[in-house]
Point group: C2
Chain length 367, copies 2
Amino acid sequence: MRIDRTALADLATGAAFLGSGGGGDPYYSQLLGEAELARVDSFEVVPLDSLADDALVVPCGWIGAPTVSVEKLPSGREALAGLRRLEQEIGRPIDAVLPIEIGGGNGLAPLVSAARLGVPVVDADGMGRAFPESQMAIFNIHGLSACPSVLTAACGSLNVIETDDNLTHERVARGLSVALGGIAHMVEYPLSGRQAKDHAIGGSVSAAIAAGAAIRLARASGDDPFEALYAALRASGLYPFAGEIFDGKIVDLERETRGGFSVGRVVIESFGGGDRMDLEFQNENLIARRNGEVVAMVPDLITVMDRETADSITTERLKYGQRVKIVGAAAPAMLREAQALKFVGPAAFGFGDAYRPIEELNGWTQA
Amino acid sequence: MRIDRTALADLATGAAFLGSGGGGDPYYSQLLGEAELARVDSFEVVPLDSLADDALVVPCGWIGAPTVSVEKLPSGREALAGLRRLEQEIGRPIDAVLPIEIGGGNGLAPLVSAARLGVPVVDADGMGRAFPESQMAIFNIHGLSACPSVLTAACGSLNVIETDDNLTHERVARGLSVALGGIAHMVEYPLSGRQAKDHAIGGSVSAAIAAGAAIRLARASGDDPFEALYAALRASGLYPFAGEIFDGKIVDLERETRGGFSVGRVVIESFGGGDRMDLEFQNENLIARRNGEVVAMVPDLITVMDRETADSITTERLKYGQRVKIVGAAAPAMLREAQALKFVGPAAFGFGDAYRPIEELNGWTQA
């Protein structure tokens, strides 16, 4: 599959939704992608099953607070420097790159990195959405090591990290991202082709493109972009349920940048004023309560979207007064397994509620 | 020169004084050194001028808040793991190790690291005392790069750091030390033998041993250990002036662990109650004011010592009510050059006062 300017824009739209509020605003990644498309004709995306078992396949993306990423520009050399250094660490060239998370800007950023390195991007990612912490990747859930990883920053700093466990790795990388100004590029969880095929969440790049295209085409033809999005998500096979969980206006917002994250809560009131939704987020939206009752929780997707344009609004872009729809979607099946819920379920974020699937909480049945 | 158990104890005593309150309490390093002496017969220390020009010579030591180091024990594998990794980075074996700073525990710690690696320690260091930040090393002052450096922590984390400049390197290493629990081992400023000979502060290990021996012998013979210390410092050639700048009791103490440092101030009152001394510290004692007038300032040495035993008291060991003498000493000449004062003079620590030598402030003339 080749990604041209239109597909890039669709990927940005789709990744913004799949980010569940996080992963960084895709707009900058899209601009950087467009600039790169002036140099290369298109970006190459290959299916997971095309990888040789002994290939070296490397997830990458940005780590840090999205609130910082909208103000502090990258130097443009971070990703390539990190990938080259990982090749040096492992002693062989990288064969393909994949997004560590499909959500937000991180769903697009590897396209440019891969083009610079001269390798394709794999149609897969490590989270099936966006999550705030590195150990929430499916590769950690399945017991693979994040190391050696390479963290690079705009100031030219390059750090090779080796830790015994992935939780320490996250703590080290987070500390570094804070020390280096709040945002850094990370190459982590180096995989063999076999490991990528066994563990990555396949098809997520094309699912994001399809979701974005559905919104674009519905807008052009005057159809409802939300319904088009839900249909595209369900059709992808990765996100079998999707739908609106609230409609209203943002009436309260608390947000701070703390410990390298953008953390807070937002309250949305229905237009009649009778109902309210409370969302809590740590980079990503984590839990949604309607009139005090939980209606969606991690790892299921919760995205705030502009109710007129169907643009996804990342947590750092939330503003008082925005008129929004809150859209939920079922997480990919791999993220709902018991082992996965330990790392990406409500308890992993400090919530007392046991995980319940979004379709059950909302009484959705397969369309 | 071979370091046996007695010389190790003398080095601990001398390094504690040269630490100017910082560098970490030498007691733990001494215990670790004694344990190592059960395995090796003695530690080998070689003079700077014995190094081949093309030797690989590596400064190392601990980075972090001394307040943490007294509570959190090392795993014991940090230093060797870091040195081995640096060899791998540079692609050749290390020929000798030196203390990044002679002050405090860091003056002793490299003895054990070197013995494990099977190489000698050089009779030299990078600070001629202890300083709180990595870019305060003479190697940075003289324009050498701290990188590649390797930072290792008790949890098993290993980090190779490469930065364009040494100030960013300090920021990254500090952020890492905080993320890894407040204390970590660092191998930095890898040098050729030629560079070590041109830039290191030679003779500081033997000066520390001589200072410690002087105190030990004076105690044994009933002489004044303070006068013995001053004489030994002057005789070393590195610290040409030394003497008492205050005598009294600690009546006030503020200390907090902030940004990876132990930061605070201490007030000492004379026994008659008529005079007071104010000391400010960031790991190390930085400036001493007697009745409001500056009487000693960085890079000159300021150490709080027990007035009965002549034990040096590091800043994390200061307590209300301690009866102390405040002892000052002239810094090695290399630290007083204009280029050095930019990095280790009062302005580098945020003080408005211009640097004035301790002998001038106190009207000391050469003995």
